[in-house]
């Protein structure tokens, strides 16, 4: 099996809606694991997902998923499941009928269809409501039945557009656990979400989008490390913060050292976190200071998002 058969590949992909830009010059290679698409409304997240699943055609460039071009749905959706944001369903169906109907369209026989739909319903914890009409479902239940529909045929690539929307905290955490389990089984999960701390918690890598362009991609800490124009902020809790401040400020990579308001800690900003941690180890070894805790302050997705996109990320 070649490498391209294991990756989702965007090759110089652009999409325009008439004169309006959807996404532009996207080059991406996505490996198995959980990849999150993050960006404000209109950044191009859903466009990217719709392009990946052939619901939209690229204006330029090409996309392949595990080696399959996206204009071949008959092959593509043997491997891919997509939970869209469209909160609409065929009329008059129960949850189970909804799953069964489209599994039959996939071409499975009835026995297999019943097995697969039952398994999917169990995975999203919707067995009890399965024989009720979807029209009577709550928003969270509709979200879960859509999720069940996207995983029912056991795809190798799962694309989820805001899959946690409308879920209560309990179901939310169960769903995140399900995503982790699927990723551990070797699936590709591509998730868009506007809740940054959840994205941060579950993602192996992120793709940050803004105005149709990819502004950063990769492991979130790796992305943070590469942002040299924004020195890394670290909070050190210790017994002698003032002494430590004098010690670290002598280092050329430390650009700022500021005492915490309670005077029991020190904020520092450094351009080279690795060298800073090494230096701190020396200070501790030499008995200069007793450290209680060290925590990066802006080494998470929210901070990266704020630096790169310029908002708090609340509506991403």
């Amino acid at each position: 099996m070649s490498t391209s058969d294991q990756l989702i590949i965007f090759d110089n992909v652009s999409k325009f809606y008439g004169e309006i830009l959807g996404v532009n010059r996207v080059n991406l290679q996505i490996a198995p694991g959980i990849t999150s698409l993050v960006g404000p409304n209109g950044a191009g997240k859903s466009t990217l997902m719709n392009l990946m699943t052939g619901l939209l055609r690229p204006t330029r460039g090409s996309i392949s998923i595990l080696g399959i071009p996206t204009d071949q749905p008959e092959r593509l959706f043997r491997k891919v499941g997509y939970c869209t944001q469209f909160d609409s369903f065929p009329r008059g169906m129960t949850g189970r009928e909804f799953l069964n109907s489209f599994l039959l369209v996939h071409g499975y026989d009835r026995k297999r269809v019943n097995e697969l739909s039952q398994l999917a319903l169990e995975r999203v914890n919707l067995v009890e409501a399965a024989d009720r009409k979807v029209a009577g479902y709550s928003k969270g239940m509709r979200q879960r039945i859509r999720l069940a529909q996207s995983i029912a045929h056991e795809p190798a690539v799962l694309i989820l557009d805001e899959p946690l929307n409308g879920l209560d905290p309990m179901v939310r955490s169960e769903t995140i656990a399900l995503f982790r389990k699927l990723a551990a089984e070797g699936l590709h999960l591509i998730i868009s979400s506007h809740i940054l701390h959840e994205v941060d918690m579950m993602s192996d890598r992120v793709v940050l989008l803004n105005n149709g362009y990819i502004v950063a991609e990769g492991n979130i800490h790796g992305v943070r490390d590469e942002m040299e124009e924004h020195p890394m902020q670290i909070l050190i809790r210790c017994d002698q913060p003032a002494q430590l401040a004098a010690y670290v400020f002598a280092q050329d990579h430390v650009v700022e050292a500021r005492l915490h308001d309670d005077r029991r800690g020190l904020f520092i900003k450094t351009r080279d976190a690795d060298r800073f941690y090494l230096m701190l180890n020396h200070a501790v070894a030499e008995g200069e200071v007793n450290i209680e805790s060290i925590a990066p302050v802006d080494d998470d997705l929210s901070a990266v998002y704020q630096y790169l996109i310029g908002t708090s990320g609340g509506s991403a």
């Binding site: 619901l55 008959e74 959706f77 043997r78 869209t84 489209f102 039959l104 499975y108 045929h153 190798a156």
Partner: protein
């Protein structure tokens, strides 16, 4: 790739090969669509259209209208020809097919549910065939039933014993079957056309009315232009031709051995174009 993915792929690929897969998929699409065609709220209009001629014919069964032609059994084939040509074929089958076939895709765009089909591992050409066959089955069942019931309802109440003889020993049964066959052919032709139109036009009423006008004005058109219509071929097959009035441009009817294959070929061509369109279609509900 990890063994976990290989396992998933093996499971996902566990479906039969091409033809048997396509037939199974067409069956699944057909079942889903036929349920929608017959049991959804949209189907109420279809029932109304299909059974519309049965209301006046039921009243006519109870009272004999004035006029000599209603008392002459031999005139009934001419009366039915008029009812069939003007009312059933040109209007009910036409607008009924428009409603059924345009909704196959347009209705799903309005309901924002077409993407579920597009996200299934099914060739979009297979989707077109499955939906078209479901529309065809619906329209044929309803409008053929109307054609048959309307004819029986016209003949039997007033001339029962003559009608029994006419349909068992005379030309009645042949005419009945011919009218039913023409209805089926009309569903086939109009169905393909309206399915195709439904893929392009947001408001299907306008092209439907334009085509309706073209079909009605067919009697005024020169012979060559007459052939660019469905009604010309259907008219050629009618067992008792309807008079088209003093201004009609007379043209030779197309023989059945040309009319029927021509309709079938045009239907297939239109379906191929529809399949091509669906193959390249994007889902953008906002702009639909």
């Amino acid at each position: 790739m990890s063994s976990a993915i290989d396992v998933v792929q093996t499971k996902s690929d566990n479906v039969p090969g091409n033809w048997s897969l396509w037939l199974r998929q067409i069956g699944a699409i057909f079942r889903m669509e036929i349920e929608k065609n017959f049991l959804s709220r949209r189907s109420l209009l279809i029932y109304l259209i299909a059974f519309l001629p049965l209301f006046p014919l039921t009243i006519l069964a109870l009272i004999t209208p004035p006029g000599r032609e209603w008392k002459d059994f031999n005139q009934y084939s001419v009366i039915y020809s008029f009812i069939y040509n003007a009312f059933i074929m040109r209007t009910l089958v036409f607008f009924g097919s428009a409603w059924i076939f345009m909704n196959l895709f347009r209705g799903e765009l309005v309901d924002r549910s077409l993407h579920y089909y597009f996200l299934s591992a099914v060739r979009r050409e297979v989707l077109v065939v499955g939906k078209y066959i479901s529309g065809l089955a619906t329209s044929i069942l309803l409008f053929t039933a109307t054609t048959v019931i309307a004819m029986l309802l016209l003949y039997f109440p007033h001339f029962y014993s003559q009608s029994v003889r006419y349909f068992t020993e005379g030309r009645g049964l042949t005419q009945l079957l011919t009218y039913a066959g023409i209805t089926m052919l009309a569903c086939l032709g109009y169905g393909a056309f309206f399915l195709f139109i439904g893929l392009f036009v947001r408001n299907p009423i306008i092209p439907a009315v334009l085509l309706y006008g073209w079909e009605w004005l067919n009697f005024l058109l020169p012979p060559l232009l007459k052939k660019i219509s469905v009604i010309h071929y259907l008219n050629s097959l009618v067992p008792v031709p309807m008079s088209e009035g003093p201004f009609a441009v007379v043209a030779e009817p197309t023989p059945a051995y040309i009319a029927i294959p021509s309709m079938l070929v045009v239907t297939i061509l239109v379906l191929i174009l529809a399949a091509y369109r669906i193959r390249h279609m994007e889902i953008r509900y906002g702009s639909d």
